[in-house]
Symmetry: none
Subunit: 483 residues, 2 copies
């Protein structure tokens, strides 16, 4: 570690003669961050090393770091050092620009994603990405170490296309225990996130001759694009307070239906028990495939989560979930629980498109699940996101009482209905003027007239790091309070 | 310890409305154990934590636990908590089931693979998998640690669909330096191995209206299956000592050609310079796509390896490579260097099939490349495999002098032409009797009459761990020496 720091080289204009050394160091660091000499993401030397370099007391350095962390210029994580986060509140905060560039230009190209905010928007309240500063780096490294230390060599060969057996074993138990999924390790297919799983299912549907897929009135455009790409037509279903409405034209012609039963994305209602039964009966009667996207099933705040729809009809529902919300999307770890009758086709699609996740991360996730660390991480995240949701509701009810948060208390996003008379485009533009990136509900509309809804924003409250969250929602509330 | 239990997460269908809460909880736990959602060995949350979760009295939970312990479903140990023991009297010991699941799973469906030898065949000389005991576990863990310690949070979001910038940067430099590839980080697309990359290219070809792909007379059946699956017809090309023969019917109708220029797989010759130019001119003249599978380009033993064909025509060749041979196939890390004119289509295919590799491993590979560890690993592997090839040639020339090793001194496999009069099926059967798994050259024949060759075995000499290699080749030689 110390060696690493020895390589850190930075010219700081610290006035070592002055009486107020600490203040001078703070100013020098702020200046270096502001003018880009210390770009966001830079790790600072340990306070001990920097103090030795500058010939000043370690406490002076530590106090300066602490002050800048409090101000939002730096962030610190125990065991991982101190980092540059960017100029707090600056409309051109460089970290926002970096995020925008890194996220593929904000084209919405990544699935379940919060595209990087436009250049200059420092606060990202688009839905889809969890708080990445909460990713348990140390625990993940420890799980990787245990996986590498304990796995036989053959697990490093081309993995079983369904995933390595220890992870399928762990997932089958985990999904049964936490989501009520009725499956076994032989019918788990580990995939690289939900879009990968959905792309495999789309291939299977195409090969089976399906022509259309029923989709919810609102959902991720990327998911619809995955289905369209293989030639499947989209048949949007209406939704009401009970969730998607089965029956009618959309189901009549569909070979499958894509649903988010636990927490409709993005509208936020739960698919009612009677509706679940109707979908299951439709699938059983027609041989259609129900695809259950359980994207945030572990994150329910008001009561115990509703179990997976899959348990109602394990022969007709493909259940899909990921570690993207509980850990990080960058891990690209997801899973399907596949009905036995479809398993061979799904595995063939996986083999001939070659996109499955690597064995080492699979083994690490298995370690994390069986050790209890994954549950622990979810528990922490649930508490944190629940608190964020409460704070969002409180901030809006105080500053913009005419805006209304709808949907159940769950997940990582909320739908905020706009004050009467406001249009989504105006509210988004107003938020942008306040430095906040959000999306309108219209972005998720599947079209075909199924999605008539009052104007609303879809607010992802998980993405900003903790130190930025209060400001982010205050600015959003201010934007919504405007005439 | 207590904290750990508080984080246990379980979906239980407990009827919280009823008067007999304890009985309902008991029933729910029994059902969960019976149908496997709570597998034997699962540790239950502390009664205090579960009671808090469910919003019921702790005594109710404690009584239910006590009842189930008495019935044999659970066991409790002071200070160690409460465990699931299984359905009372169930015959199947859980650890045996776990072991069976772990050892299962043929790998025959994976690409570039050495399918697991038949039960009872102790020595695997099928081509495709490196010596997994040489995987540098410690170095990989160290690279993962450095990656996790030094990467800003935003790299853990949905990755750029081309791969994380540090890895694209490292690969562009590495490929230029070691293989003469002419590219830059913007045109690198990181993928999950060559089959994943090929599947992306097959999609692009299909979308461009290509109808056929020229393939070499011999190659991996999995690669041909990837192309066929999207509706592309295969047009096999003849090969001679100079490699694949351009021109004629196969190229006349093809929108692409798939080639292994450095070391034809599996025949073993290098594509001659004049042939490379002819293919490049064909592609430039017709707008066709050349796909260069550089599967073992770093492994040449007799002289400096021939550079990548890609440098001849960077606007027409998609270069593909992987870390599967240098590190391990299980990492699922590969890369394409894509002509600029095709980049957007390849990236769109990657986004809408969702199968890219995870960010942490990408960052670890970037670390390994920039630190020099990847080069070092390749040097070690090259020395080891060169020695294995020499020993194979020596063993065969001594014990089975009528068998002939053909192809250049390179790679991880050799083609062994059989003694006159012997058929491939007989040689394979004889090897099996000696406990050795090999494949015949016929397994790789693309058909259509392009592949007339003397009977031969394709011997992968990289797979057996060092301690087994001497015996493996002695047994193969003995099998080939039989009449």
């Amino acid at each position: 570690m110390a060696e690493h720091w020895a390589n850190f080289d930075l010219h700081l204009d610290v006035n070592l003669e002055g009486a107020r050394l600490g203040r001078s160091l703070e100013d020098a660091l702020r200046a270096a961050i502001r003018d880009g000499r210390l770009p966001p993401g830079t790790r600072l030397p340990a306070s001990r090393a920097l103090a030795a370099d500058l010939g000043i007391a370690r406490n002076t350095v530590a106090d300066a770091f602490g002050q800048l962390v409090a101000e939002g210029w730096l962030s610190a994580r125990t065991g991982a050092g101190t980092w540059v986060t960017g100029s707090p509140g600056a409309p051109d905060a460089p970290d926002a620009a970096v995020r925008a560039a890194e996220s593929g230009g904000g084209t919405g190209s990544a699935p379940h994603t919060a595209p990087g905010p436009r250049r200059g928007l420092g606060y990202n309240l688009r839905p889809g990405v969890p708080d990445l500063s909460a990713f348990p780096r140390r625990e993940w490294l420890a799980a990787t170490r245990r996986a590498l230390a304990s796995s036989p060599d053959h697990l490093l060969a081309y993995p079983d296309p369904r995933g390595v057996p220890p992870l399928r074993q762990a997932l089958a138990g985990y999904l049964a225990r936490t989501r009520g999924v009725s499956t076994d390790p032989e019918r788990i297919v580990v995939c690289s996130g939900f879009v990968h799983g959905l792309a495999l299912l789309a291939q299977v549907l195409g090969a089976r001759g399906a022509r259309a897929v029923a989709v919810e009135s609102h959902g991720l455009p990327e998911h619809r694009a995955v289905l369209s790409r293989v030639g499947l037509r989209l048949a949007p279903m209406r939704a009401d307070a009970q969730g998607a409405v089965p029956g009618g034209a959309p189901l009549g012609e569909a070979g499958a239906a894509l649903l988010t039963p636990a927490h409709q994305f993005p509208l936020g209602m739960t698919l009612a028990p009677a509706r679940r039964r109707m979908f299951a009966e439709w699938a059983a009667g027609t041989g259609a495939m129900l695809i259950e996207d359980d994207y945030d099933g572990e994150f329910r705040y008001d009561r115990h989560p509703v179990g997976a729809m899959q348990a109602l009809a394990p022969d007709h529902v493909v259940y899909g979930g990921t570690a993207s919300k509980a850990l990080a999307p960058g891990l690209r770890l997801g899973w399907l629980a596949v009905p036995g009758r479809l398993l061979e086709e799904v595995v063939t699609a996986a083999v001939l498109t070659g996109g499955g996740p690597d064995a080492v991360n699979q083994l690490a996730l298995a370690e994390l699940i069986t050790s209890g660390g994954y549950d622990r991480q979810i528990r922490h995240a649930r508490l944190a996101y629940r608190g964020r949701r409460d704070r969002l509701v409180a901030a809006l009810s105080q500053a913009a009482p005419l805006a209304r948060v709808t949907g159940i208390a769950a997940g990582l996003h909320a739908v905020v209905e706009l004050p009467p008379g406001r249009r989504e485009t105006d509210a988004i533009a107003s938020a942008e003027r306040h430095g906040v990136a959000v999306l309108g509900l219209g972005e998720f509309d599947a079209g075909a007239g199924a999605g008539q809804r009052p104007p609303a924003l879809v607010v992802g409250y998980a993405t900003p790091p903790p130190h930025a969250y209060t400001t982010a929602i205050a600015r959003l509330a201010a934007a919504l309070a405007e005439e």
